[in-house]
C-alpha cells in the first residue's frame, strides 16, 4: 500500500499542477511552493496579505519554517519567527524545523527553540484553559436538598444525576453549580475545571464567564 499510495499521491499532485485544479488549499500550496523555491520575498508578501498562512502544512507538507531552516536562510527564519511561525511543527516523518536545519544555522535555531520551550513551560501548563481557584470560588457550592435550592440554582428532574460519576445526587452531598446552571458533585467537577478544562462538561459553557 505504501508505495502504491506514494505513487498515487505524486501522480495526483502532478495532475493538479498540470490542470490547475487544486482546490481551497491552493493558496497554502503556493505559499509553500514559494518557500520551497527559496523565494522568501514572495513568502513575506503573501504573509502580509494573509498572516495565518504562516504555519500551514496542507497535506502534511513541510512548513515555510522547515524550508527556511533547511536552506540555512537565517534572515528568512527570523522573519518567519517574528510572524508567529512555530518551532514545534513536524514533517510527516516527525521532524521539527530544527531537525531539518542546515548545519550553518543549526546551533542558532536550537538555542531559539530551547528558549521558546522554556517560555512555554513558564506560562504554566493550563493557565488559559483551566479555571483558577478564584474562579472556582465564584461558583455556587451547596449541600443537596431537592426541597431547598439556593438562589440562582435550578434543578430539573433529569438533573438529578451527576453526569461525571453517573450516580444520583443524595441528600447532603456537596454540589457545584456552574453559571450555565449545570450541577455536579463538587468532588467530581472541581478537578476537571481546575486541571483539565474550564468548560462545563455538559454544555461547554466557559465557567469563568458569568452570564
Amino acid at each position: 500500500m505504501g508505495n502504491f499510495a506514494g505513487t498515487c499521491r505524486t501522480l495526483m499532485c502532478s495532475l493538479q499542477v498540470l490542470t490547475g485544479t487544486r482546490r481551497d488549499g491552493s493558496q497554502q500550496h503556493q505559499f509553500l511552493d514559494a518557500a520551497k523555491a527559496g523565494n522568501f520575498a514572495e513568502v513575506r508578501r503573501m504573509l502580509e496579505e494573509k498572516p495565518d498562512l504562516v504555519n500551514c502544512q496542507p497535506n502534511g507538507r513541510w512548513s515555510a519554517l522547515h524550508h527556511a531552516a533547511h536552506k540555512g536562510n537565517l534572515a528568512a527564519v527570523q522573519s518567519l519567527l517574528e510572524r508567529g511561525a512555530s518551532l514545534t511543527l513536524k514533517t510527516r516523518e516527525g521532524l521539527t524545523p530544527v531537525e531539518v536545519a542546515s548545519s550553518s544555522i543549526f546551533d542558532h535555531l536550537l538555542y531559539l527553540s530551547l528558549q521558546a520551550s522554556e517560555a512555554e513551560e513558564a506560562k504554566g501548563k493550563c493557565s488559559k484553559r483551566c479555571a483558577s481557584e478564584e474562579v472556582l470560588r465564584t461558583l455556587t457550592l451547596w449541600r443537596f436538598s431537592p426541597s431547598n435550592l439556593p438562589a440562582g440554582v435550578c434543578l430539573s428532574e433529569e438533573d438529578s444525576q451527576c453526569l461525571i460519576c453517573l450516580e444520583d445526587f443524595k441528600e447532603e452531598e456537596e454540589l457545584r453549580t456552574l453559571h450555565c446552571c449545570h450541577s455536579f458533585h463538587a468532588r467530581c467537577v472541581d478537578g476537571w475545571l481546575t486541571e483539565k478544562s474550564r468548560c462545563c462538561p455538559t454544555c461547554r459553557a466557559d465557567c469563568a464567564e458569568a452570564n
Partner: protein, 152 residues
C-alpha cells in the same frame, strides 16, 4: 472513580443497547473494551461491521478513552496501518460527561461525515479534497467489502 463509573456504563449498555453498537468488556477488567459498530447507511461503509478497541485509563472519565479501529478502514481520519483515529472529541474536546456508547456513536458519525481537513490517511483526504468523491467511495467500499463484510 474509573471502575465505578465504567461499571455504571456497562450496566447501562446491557439495559439499553444501541442497535448499531455492540459494546462489551474485553477480558475481566474494566480497562479494555471491545466494540463492533455498523457502518452507516448511504455511506461506502454500509453493511460493514467494524471492530474497535477501546482502552480506558485509571484517569477515565477525566482523560478520554483511547479508541482505534481493529478492522481495516479507508477513511481520511483513520490511520490506515494502525487504525488510530483523529477526532476532536477524543483529543482536545473531550468531556467527562460523555460515555463509551456516545464515543461509538461519534465514530459512526465520523464514518458518515469524513473530515478531509485533518487527514491521517492522506490518500483518502486528497481524493476528497480534490473533489473525487467517486474515487474515494470506491476505495472505501472496496476495503469495506474486503475487511468488514467478507473478511469477518
Amino acid at each position: 472513580m474509573a471502575r465505578n463509573r465504567l461499571n455504571k456504563e456497562w450496566q447501562e449498555v446491557k439495559r439499553n443497547p444501541d442497535p448499531d453498537i455492540f459494546l462489551d468488556l474485553d477480558g475481566d477488567s474494566f480497562e479494555q473494551w471491545q466494540a463492533v459498530i455498523n457502518g452507516p447507511q448511504d455511506s461506502p461503509y454500509e453493511g460493514g461491521r467494524f471492530d474497535l478497541k477501546i482502552i480506558c485509563t485509571a484517569n477515565y472519565p477525566y482523560a478520554a478513552p483511547q479508541v482505534s479501529f481493529k478492522t481495516k478502514v479507508f477513511h481520511p481520519n483513520v490511520n490506515f496501518s494502525t487504525g488510530e483515529l483523529c477526532v476532536d472529541i477524543l483529543k482536545t474536546d473531550w468531556s467527562p460527561a460523555w460515555t463509551l456508547q456516545y464515543v461509538c456513536r461519534a465514530v459512526i458519525a465520523l464514518l458518515r461525515d469524513p473530515n478531509a481537513d485533518s487527514p491521517l490517511n492522506c490518500d483518502a483526504g486528497n481524493l476528497l479534497r480534490n473533489g473525487d468523491l467517486r474515487g474515494f467511495q470506491s476505495m472505501a467500499r472496496m476495503y469495506t467489502v474486503e475487511h468488514a463484510i467478507e473478511g469477518r
